[in-house]
């Protein structure tokens, strides 16, 4: 009796462990490999060049099927009185800041998704709706998204936005670096339309060289810092400015990738399903041991009674 119980238990627990290990191998997403191409694209934004015409906002709305209106209405500079953030219907916005060095030249900063090399949204998404394309763009897949807004909590730049006004099927909206246009071989809309070439699109490594070169040539007009070169492990969009970036509403971030520690812990805990299987094995053995002890006690009691 005892032996057969023991054999059964061992069989069942071994089967469970094996099953879980197999499941773990097939279903659990392993550490996302570094699929990034070394020639991945980025964008260099030179805020000393930007004139704040907001044509990029207009082009972005057109490219993403949002109501754009007439381009002439974008000449209205009174919108700069307020600091704006990307919304579900405007994926990029330009904010204006006072220039302390040259008062007549305000600093205009375009805000949109930074397309991080190690994106926190991709790591945080529980259903894998976000992905990092090997060419650098971070894109959102509406077929997978369940709308939990974890990405919005995770993003160090607070970029993903949610269609709060929609009851059913609200989208997560953020810059996708014009995924559709890039698939067709076109430039992203904002870069295409920029009249002063404040935005430079190209391989990220080249952009860093260009940025360094610009700072070297004009050390007086630039703050010697490329925002985005190392922030949260490097971002696709990088900024040059003549002011400290904290004064331009850029968050001060460390150089480590945002998902680094949490991702390591998560993937460590669930690697090959070993810890959950161990937990079940522990509980199972505890169940068996206590059951065994109890039946012995009962036998002993029965013996005493009779």
């Amino acid at each position: 009796m005892l032996n057969s119980n023991r054999r059964q238990f061992l069989k069942i627990s071994a089967g469970l462990t094996a099953g879980m290990t197999v499941m773990g191998n097939t279903e659990v997403k392993a550490n996302p490999e570094n699929i990034l191409s070394p020639d991945r694209f980025g964008v260099l934004v030179d805020t000393t060049v930007c004139v704040g015409c907001r044509n990029c906002e207009w082009a972005c709305k057109n490219a993403h099927g949002h109501e754009a209106g007439d381009i002439d209405t974008y000449k209205d500079r009174s919108v700069f009185l307020k600091k704006r953030r990307p919304q579900s219907h405007s994926l990029t916005v330009v904010n204006e800041f006072k220039n302390t060095k040259f008062r007549s030249l305000p600093i205009d900063v375009k805000v949109q998704c930074m397309h991080c090399d190690r994106p926190a949204c991709v790591s945080a998404c529980i259903v894998g709706a976000f992905s990092k394309h090997k060419d650098g763009r971070v894109i959102w897949d509406g077929d997978k998204c369940i709308g939990c807004r974890y990405c919005m909590v995770a993003c160090p730049f607070q970029i993903p936005t949610f269609e709060y006004e929609k009851t059913i099927q609200p989208d997560i909206c953020k810059c996708d670096l014009c995924n559709d246009r890039q698939e067709k071989g076109l430039l992203p809309a904002c870069i295409d339309i920029c009249p002063v070439e404040a935005l430079t699109f190209g391989p990220r490594t080249d952009l860093i060289k260009i940025a360094r070169e610009r700072i070297k040539r004009n050390p007086d007009s630039y703050n010697n810092y490329i925002y985005g070169e190392n922030e949260v492990g490097g971002t696709g969009w990088m900024y040059l400015s003549n002011k400290k970036f904290e004064e331009l509403d850029f968050p001060k971030l460390h150089d480590k990738p945002a998902p680094g520690v949490s991702e390591a812990i998560q993937h460590g805990i669930f690697a090959y399903f070993v810890p959950p299987a161990m937990l079940y094995a522990l509980l199972g053995s505890m169940m068996w041991i206590t059951k065994n002890r109890q039946s012995k006690e009962m036998e002993a009691e029965d013996g005493n009674n009779s």
Binding site: D143, I146, G147, R149, V153, F162, T290
Partner: protein, 124 residues
């Protein structure tokens, strides 16, 4: 053993005690906002926005619902896994509470998320 598993019907107990009435009023209040959410959207009833994508909502879901369930499963573990027979009497009510806890977490999350189509892919 036999004395422990001796279920009996509870008799002559009024259901609508003052406590239950107060809780029912709170629940009805919640139902009003539940309907509001499906008419005006999640932003209108929770005041969440792009800066605060998660709020008290998640705290109630996760901190209350899951914690309620955890207690039930711990009781079940005491009774059935560790075979402490004296806890058997409370295992059933505890498991019922736990089940309700997780059910309300699920209902709460369903109300929260808004995109249901991908859930078809989840293997239940």
């Amino acid at each position: 053993m036999e004395t422990i598993h001796n279920p009996a019907q509870i008799k002559n107990v009024t259901f609508f005690t003052p406590g239950v009435i107060i809780l029912s009023i709170i629940a009805l209040n919640g139902l009003v906002f539940l309907f509001g959410r499906f008419i005006f959207g999640i932003g209108a009833v929770t005041n969440l926005n792009n800066f605060y994508p998660w709020g008290l909502w998640i705290g109630v879901d996760v901190a209350a619902g899951v914690a309620l369930a955890a207690g039930g499963f711990t009781s079940a573990a005491l009774g059935h896994v560790m075979h402490r027979e004296k806890y058997h009497a409370i295992v059933r009510p505890a498991l019922l509470t736990a089940m309700l806890g997780y059910t309300f977490v699920a209902i709460g999350v369903f109300t929260d998320i808004g995109r249901f189509a991908p859930l078809n892919y989840v293997e239940w």
